[in-house]
Symmetry: C2
Subunit: 131 residues, 2 copies
Amino acid sequence: MNIGEAAEQANLPRKTIRYYEEIGLITPVRSENGYRDYSEMEVHRLRFLQRSRSLGFTIEECRLLLSLYDDKHRASADVKAIAEAKVVEIDKKIKELTELKATLSALAHSCHGDRRPDCPIISDLAGEPCV
Amino acid sequence: MNIGEAAEQANLPRKTIRYYEEIGLITPVRSENGYRDYSEMEVHRLRFLQRSRSLGFTIEECRLLLSLYDDKHRASADVKAIAEAKVVEIDKKIKELTELKATLSALAHSCHGDRRPDCPIISDLAGEPCV
DNA sequence: GATAGAGGTTCCAGCAACTGGAAGGTCAAG
DNA sequence: CTTGACCTTCCAGTTGCTGGAACCTCTATC
């Protein structure tokens, strides 16, 4: 199947699929006319990529997951470890953003937000850096 | 003052400061020897940038904030609006990450994580894409 | 005066993960 | 035979820096 249909089935932009090929995540054969020709297996791979990217795995993590996906004898523990590490990472990011939001909310609340030119937000930004 | 001390006082890497100059956020004069020469005002600007970047504002938002910072007659409402929009944005990101974490945690929990080759995480990734 | 080291300068390239556009080939329908 | 939708490649841009190479300048010491 051509890239257009593969893109539709995998829910990925064509450009992204070509990019994945460029970085060696997938290598479809070519038809006589030079068009990429995707098999069902390859569409599966693309869907796998779409799903794992949407779950926040980096390309390199996807590459690793794909190799585990291909390896029929890999232990599930390997996969679980990657997923759990990702959970920790995401959790850390959530905490960081939560702190950020608190700081910024406090700043916004402290600002009267009218036509007066003095503004506590600007004052804070101009103040000492947070180290 | 030279870039090294400015960097220290603003808590920013030299490279970053040069980059900020390249994109027009700051334009120090040059000494006879060609070295950049930062005034106290400019170090303030750099600190302002450091702080706002660390609060999650993009470079373009920083540019806007700086122009408001420079404008003695701007209304605090303008600044407040930017800060509040950022809070909404951050909140959205937190929600997304929280959902992500829930999905990934559930997957990791459902995986026995032993030496068996079948793995529910891989099965899920290989399944239908989340649209 | 020579030299070493710690500053400074420029420019070029690269990261992640695409995305957009130009210039052109191919195919099916009317 | 032309139109339009598809496909191809290649080049450049995005965000916000970061690293490195090659080179200049200043200060201190021998």
